[in-house]
């Protein structure tokens, strides 16, 4: 593929060229996405060095397994799904992310190669989890902490009552408000986009 046609080629055309051994096509496709992958990883970690590690691992996973891209979704969806799953798997492995309500129907991270059709099918779910995870992280400390204690660590209301030194009804009320706030943010993110909501998070989380 010539350099001129590279920039005009669709992602899928580049994938086809890569499969035929075209290294220029690989460079073009990689350059289209590496920053976006980094930014996606950063939305998980909030730390640039960790985002860098995750991004390069996710990119390698994708490009080393590009032969398994079936074209049943767009390349970008496929790549972001791999990125998302890799971020989640790493954070879970490091004990930094686990949210029971999102775990119930979770796909298996390790026993199915990335890039399979199953990975493509999970893209919607992956996107939802990404939104939810980003929003939880954006909540004020108290609310984030409370939700994690209750839903990540499985603390009982009685235990929270003791830990926080407040009444049982106050615990329940705080939990209810935190859940409601999260639900509202989630709806806003689905409507206006995650970045828009995160950019104005103070407006929604004040008070």
């Amino acid at each position: 593929m010539s350099i001129r046609s590279l920039s005009a080629a669709t992602d899928e055309e580049l994938v086809a060229a890569i499969r035929e051994g075209d290294r220029l096509a690989l460079g073009e496709l990689y350059n289209r996405y590496y920053k976006k992958v980094f930014n996606k990883c950063f939305s998980f970690t909030k730390k640039q060095e960790e985002a860098f590690d995750l991004a390069q691992e996710a990119l390698m996973k994708a490009f080393d397994n590009i032969h398994s891209f079936k074209g049943e979704s767009s390349f970008s969806t496929w790549l972001y799904t791999i990125t998302h799953r890799h971020c989640l798997a790493t954070l879970k492995k490091n004990g930094r992310f686990q949210f029971h309500s999102l775990e119930a129907n979770s796909y298996r991270d390790d026993d199915q190669p990335d890039g399979t059709p199953a990975a493509e099918e999970t893209s919607d779910r992956a996107e939802q989890e990404l939104i939810m995870y980003s929003l939880i992280n954006a909540l004020p400390d108290k609310e984030r902490h409370l939700l994690k204690l209750k839903y990540l660590q499985g603390e009982s209301v009685e235990s929270l009552q003791t830990q926080l030194n407040i009444s049982g009804s106050a615990v329940k009320m705080r939990l209810k408000r935190s859940r409601e706030k999260l639900n509202m943010l989630y709806a806003l993110a689905l409507t206006y986009g995650l970045e828009q909501v995160l950019g104005r998070i103070e407006l929604f989380t004040a008070g």
């Binding site: 290294r23 920053k35 860098f52």
Partner: protein, 184 residues
């Protein structure tokens, strides 16, 4: 029991360092060594362009050093972003964190000229890569890695350096030519 070697590659995002970055990655891959990517940043908050640049550099590596059956992610990399002036920070880092080999980009070699003797002293060995004129338009030949090594300036390399590289069986034929040329 094998002990993982540590290579250190100082770079500046201000320079065109992708070729030497790719070479350093290739060396780390062949030696199964850990590669520390060292640079400086004016402020801790301004590191994002460095990470972006490193990711772009890795894309260049993938494009220009195709491997068969080797996952490019096998290169263990660790970014080290210090503050201050590069040469001073590098020497300070080496004093506190010994490494086996430092790989120096040709463009950076002028910047580090004054400190080169100190860098050699504080490390297990130094490879100053040769200048590469113009960006290669096509993937390099299988011999490019060794061509660059042959033209590099080598200082105090560990005695087992070539032995380690020699474990890379795919390079056997070229190594034979390399040793013949240099009449070791």
């Amino acid at each position: 029991m094998s002990i993982t070697k540590t290579l250190l590659y100082p770079f500046s995002v201000e320079s065109q360092y992708f070729d030497s970055y790719a070479w350093a990655c290739e060396l780390a891959l062949r030696m199964k060594a850990k590669l520390k990517l060292f640079t400086t940043s004016p402020a801790p908050s301004s590191t994002q362009p460095i990470y972006h640049s490193l990711l772009e550099a890795h894309g260049y590596y993938l494009q220009h050093y195709p491997h068969r059956g080797v996952k490019s992610n096998d290169v263990q990399k660790e970014p080290c972003i210090a503050s201050g002036e590069l040469e001073t920070a590098l020497v300070s880092h080496l004093k506190n964190n010994p490494v086996d080999i430092v790989i120096i980009d040709p463009e950076l070699s002028a910047t580090l000229a004054q400190g080169l003797s100190v860098i050699v002293k504080e490390s297990g060995g130094v490879i100053v890569l040769p200048s590469i004129k113009g960006k290669p338009s096509a993937p390099p030949s299988a011999d490019k890695f060794y061509d660059d090594l042959r033209r590099a300036r080598l200082y105090k390399l560990p005695s087992n350096f070539f032995f380690t590289l020699g474990k890379d069986h795919s390079a056997f034929n070229y190594l034979r030519k390399f040793f013949q040329k240099n009449r070791f």
